[in-house]
Symmetry: C2
Subunit: 168 residues, 2 copies
DNA sequence: CGAAATTGTAACTATAATGGTTACAAAATT
DNA sequence: AATTTTGTAACCATTATAGTTACAATTTCG
């Protein structure tokens, strides 16, 4: 369905900011964690800023930080900030008006899609950015060491991880 | 989000077949109602046939018809037949392994997306093709006449509508 | 059998959303 | 004034889907 990772990236970005607190993050730092280009991040930050979820500042000490309490910001807020406009779409071209099915299928499907969207929104409304951050922590410390067991992740920041978050 | 109308078209196609009963519909007829090309329809019918929802036959009296009871076929069956693979996607490129957020965000997001998908599936599982067809009927007779009030749709088939469904 | 109709399928182009890149003006700090 | 960073435009790349043409394989019917 969706070849689209915008929602995942947006949650990633906001989680980074929640993790790092008040200090503004530069788009370059965020891009490094997300593994993409800084302009892609800035474009997304514009959407998030327009929705009032982040604030940014230009200049040499600039960057972006959360504009809201992460414990109050839900994934529904994030989803709506991206203006994805629903999970499914209706027909590209309107169906035949001369067919009894075609003439009304959009109305009926519209109701169904609305029902789907409501269900999605209900789930997203119950998860906050803070929830996501809390759920990140156990993975980073216990679970992951056990899985990889090569000592790559030992709870301390090292290498680029330090570069990304120590400056924060 | 989804620039994708495959689900809408698939439900349209199956509703047409449910509406028209046992008689096989030709891809050209279906394409006329959906307002697209017959090959687009045939490609979709291949997906639906592989999922066991329709059967097709070549030859001069060929066409496609439902392979299941429309009252037992849910929109979840349709959705799964299309193999859309979930409502949202994770990151295209894997995030940084050197960032405490990046290294675990995919795991956490995967759980969230699973929760979303389950909610969507729960809704779709409760709507059958027959439900859709039933909900098409009132629109075609009362509601629509009132809305358009130009007598375009008067309950009888006329013009191309006749062409599409009278042969059925 | 041979003609006609229809599906199955390949090959190609078109469209649209997203992602990636480069470049640079505007703003803020030193 | 110099430096840094965002905001933003412009362009290309990638991917999924839709649309089109063409044709072999299959089925019916004369």
């Amino acid at each position: 369905m969706s070849t689209n990772s915008r929602f995942a990236v947006a949650v990633h970005v906001l989680s980074l900011m929640a993790w790092s607190g008040e200090e503004p993050l530069k788009s370059e730092q965020v891009a490094e964690s997300v593994n993409t280009n800084a302009v892609v991040i800035r474009r997304m930050l514009l959407d998030l800023a327009q929705a009032g979820l982040v604030v940014s500042q230009t200049g040499s000490l600039g960057g972006s930080r959360l504009a809201t309490d992460p414990a109050e910001t839900t994934l529904l807020d994030v989803y709506q900030a991206l203006e994805c406009g629903g999970v499914f779409s209706l027909h590209r071209q309107p169906p035949s008006r001369d067919c009894p099915v075609g003439v009304n299928i959009e109305t009926v499907l519209g109701e169904v899609l609305q029902e789907v969207d409501s269900a999605v929104e209900k789930v997203l409304k119950n998860i906050t950015i803070d929830d996501v951050v809390q759920r990140l922590k156990p993975c980073g410390t216990l679970n992951n060491v056990k899985k990889n067991s090569v000592g790559k992740s030992n709870g301390r920041l090292n290498g680029k991880a330090a570069k990304v978050l120590e400056t924060v």
